[in-house]
């Protein structure tokens, strides 16, 4: 018997006797006999030490970032995670609890979510934030749906410089309800093509959706974009890199109506794409159209402060087919990592992380463009930038990998006009030595030509 099952044969006999049954099989008499007890062709059970060995073997087949300098970003970022974060996540009281349906027995989770909501509001400049979404991409898709609900329109204007996967998820989410999604290209500086955006914002659009910094690294003029959107009675939805907001003005100050983002950067490892966490904030007036769980402050029968899940009539378990979303469980533990991370980093730390990213990325960009054959595209950036390479980007990456370096994101995947370009990302994790090694390796390719 598995070590996860405490009952012994004697216990089971006693329980069966109580039930007046002779065998466990009788419990399943209700299942059609010909379908009962199918063969399961699965590997044989392993002892704990063997499972551990097996998993270690699989893990070691992967080239990890502890051993390889990396300049990959494009929606998933290698940032430092202080030891405190994982220490908190390992508390069984947090990770083996469920959604705080019984508030008196869940004040730990509820309090931490309230703190999370507060910090997301502070970072983004929004009035309210929910208890989290699945990831950045699904948060963005939900924001698109919410803009449509708020405005009662079904057209979304989306920047082509919104993360390609996010645009795909938005299309997947809206394929059943038939949303009209139109893409806007980018201008010479990598920012949104204002002219095209203005044409598309014709009074039928529910929202304008942009990313900040955008997928190509550029910093949009959010103030101008919010004026454009609002002039057409559309909402401005901004998808952010929360680390950048350690340095940059919050979109809420610049006219954004809904701000979403991928929270992975704040205290979570890359983990091959998940678990991550979607950040979701909005202006107060749209609160009741917001998807997901919300925690609110209240008092108990003796007047003591406490926290509860609130505004639940928006949700599926109450409103069923009329709910704002079907979302039920979210990413609470990852949100706890974000909360812990922001508590440890604090006001000074997050700013410092953002500045380290900024300066190191600019140093790298400067060194690379000094190499013959390399060119940087577009305007102001934060920690990611586009370079045109003298050899095809795939070859450049292959060469870097020969040097043990994980190179950039090949933009040819998504942007036919950028087939000779790489998107590079530099964070506080990249030392000057690593950057210099990257530049040297890129120089070798440049000179080979």
């Amino acid at each position: 018997m598995s070590s996860y099952i405490p009952n012994t044969d004697a216990d089971r006999r006693k329980m069966l006797e109580t039930l007046g049954l002779d065998s466990l099989e009788e419990l399943f008499d209700v299942i059609p006999a010909e379908k009962r007890y199918p063969d399961l062709a699965l590997p044989r059970p392993l002892a704990e030490m063997d499972v551990k060995k097996l998993l270690r073997g699989l893990a070691e087949k992967n080239a990890d970032l502890d051993h390889h300098p990396s300049f990959l970003g494009a929606g998933a970022y290698h940032h430092f995670v202080p030891a405190v974060v994982d220490h908190v996540l390992r508390r069984g009281e947090f990770y083996t609890a469920y959604t705080p349906y019984q508030p008196e027995a869940s004040q730990g989770t509820l309090t931490s979510i309230y703190e999370f909501q507060t910090m997301v509001c502070e970072l983004t400049g929004m009035d309210a934030a929910n208890a989290s979404m699945y990831d950045g991409a699904t948060a963005l898709a939900e924001a698109g749906l919410m803009a449509a609900r708020v405005t009662r329109r079904d057209r979304l204007i989306v920047a082509s410089t919104l993360h390609p996967s996010y645009r795909q998820v938005l299309r997947t989410y809206t394929q059943g309800i038939g949303m009209d999604i139109r893409e806007v290209g980018y201008a010479e500086d990598g920012g949104l093509d204002f002219h095209q955006a203005q044409q598309l914002l014709d009074g039928e659009a529910a929202g304008l959706i942009v990313q900040y910094p955008n997928f190509l690294g550029s910093l949009e003029d959010l103030l101008l974009l919010s004026e454009l959107a609002h002039a057409a009675d559309a909402l401005l939805v901004v998808c952010v890199d929360p680390v950048a907001l350690g340095l940059l003005r919050p979109p809420g100050e610049l006219g954004a109506d809904i701000v979403v983002g991928e929270g992975q950067s704040l205290g979570n490892p890359l983990s091959y794409g998940g678990p991550y966490v979607g950040l979701f904030g909005c202006r107060h007036k749209y609160l009741r159209q917001m998807p997901g769980r919300l925690v609110g402050m209240t008092t108990d029968t003796e007047g003591r402060r406490g926290f509860v899940l609130t505004l639940q009539p928006r949700e599926q378990h109450i409103r069923r087919e009329k709910a704002t979303s079907n979302i039920c469980s979210n990413e609470a533990l990852v949100a706890l990592a974000v909360t812990t991370y922001l508590a440890v980093m604090g006001r000074q730390g997050l700013r410092q992380v953002a500045e380290l990213c900024y300066h190191k990325a600019h140093y790298a960009a400067q060194q690379i463009v000094a190499l013959p054959g390399y060119e940087r595209l577009f305007g102001q950036f934060f920690k990611e930038f586009v370079i045109r390479t003298p050899s095809p980007p795939a070859q450049v990456n292959a060469h870097l990998w020969e040097r043990g370096i994980i190179g950039g994101y090949e933009l040819a995947r998504d942007y036919p006009q950028l087939t000779d370009c790489l998107l590079l990302c530099v964070t506080e994790m990249n030392t000057r030595d690593e950057i210099d090694t990257l530049v040297q390796a890129l120089g070798e390719i440049g000179s080979k030509r």
Binding site: T18, Y37, K52, F80, Y98, Q107, G274, L311, G346
Partner: protein
Amino acid sequence: MTEPLLFELSSPGRIGCQLPELDVPEAPLPEELLRQQLPLPELSEREVVQHFTRLSQLNFSVDTGFYPLGSCTMKYNPKLHEEVARLPGFTEIHPWQRESTVQGALQLMYELQQYLAEITGLPGVSLQPIAGAHGELTGMLIVRAYHVHRGDEGRSTVLVPDSAHGTNPATAAMCGYEVLTVPSDERGNIDVHELDRLMDERVAGLMLTNPNTLGLFEEHILKAAEIVHEAGGLIYCDGANMNALLGIAKPGELGTDVLHLNLHKTFSTPHGGGGPGGGATAVTEELAPFLPVPVVALRSEQEAGDTYYLDYGRPLSIGRVSGFYGNFGVMVKAYAYLRSLGAPGLRQVSENAVLNANYLLHQLKSDYFLPYDRSCLHECVFSGKDQAKLGVHTVDIAKRLIDLGFHPPTVYFPLIVDEALMIEPTETESIETLDAFISAMRQIAQEAETDPELVRDAPRTTPVSRLDEVAAARKPNLKWRR
């Protein structure tokens, strides 16, 4: 005991993490774009640890006690999983790394897809959905894509039983469908006569939970599948309750076309206070082309050997449903679980889960009203209506259980049972725990008669007593203000 908020503990100038000095020249900052203030709290590392440790102690959890929350499968979460999921070879890999550098991760995902296909009897599996409701969305978009691909575009309705999880109708609506409710019969099954009456060429499919939310196996499942399939519809099975069927029956052999699994229920990955989960979705061969991209595939070549890769070349796919490939860290835990248990272990899981539930059902039915008096599978649903007559409602019973050291069952769900108490013990609880819970429930039934005030005033042992949810909703306070 209350714990101040981070913001109240904050003191200007404190730092919680030492960061490295800048080792490159400074670049000029874009002054006009800089934020003026960043109102995050300022704490030392020690204070942060103390704060969150104290908060954790305000929680009830599986690690600290019995958590029979129906429909949520709050089973024990093996500690080995926490360890292996944190191996740097799993946590420190970037989702855009070239496939040749992440073969171990891809192999694990590929094999997990195979195992889940085997367990469900549904050969096409996507690990990309992040939660159960996300798997539902994925599954119902596949249903829709299937009909559209066949040119059968007139199907605008989805049937959902009245006992269904709220996510089912909400999901159908997100996919653009109208929802029609199918009633349950007097034995707690879907009413097949009503199903037959409602099923026609305008219906895309039936969303069914099996065992259903009453913890009962759908006795007419094969007949229901026949009715739906004959009218050209598909069967979506909400696999939230798969803990009853591991190695007992394969949904794919019971007429299911699409099913989502909850890795965080059935496959023991922790619930995390409400996520992260995993909503792997399994489909028939015929529906596999519609799965989200990418799926993990295997290329076997004589010289190169086995190579795992991300297959994006699927023109009929509904597209991506999340940013990358799903919750990989959760998959590692589910994989470890399946390798620990194997086929014999999985069957033991369901047998013991079902035995535990029936034991509770049997022992409690003399004290609580049992609306459907038949043996259950992994959970049982009582009604507190006899106690309600005494002025003690289900919510009171739930709160009193907290005082007696137990997490309450799921309450007021399913909606078709008055004052519902939905109890799911799982296989990881001992007979001693079950007996203690039974005693507590009997004690409360007794107290409802002798001292109802005591039950209505519960809980008294918790950090806070009952909270004013009406006030919380009337004037929402959703963030801390100075």
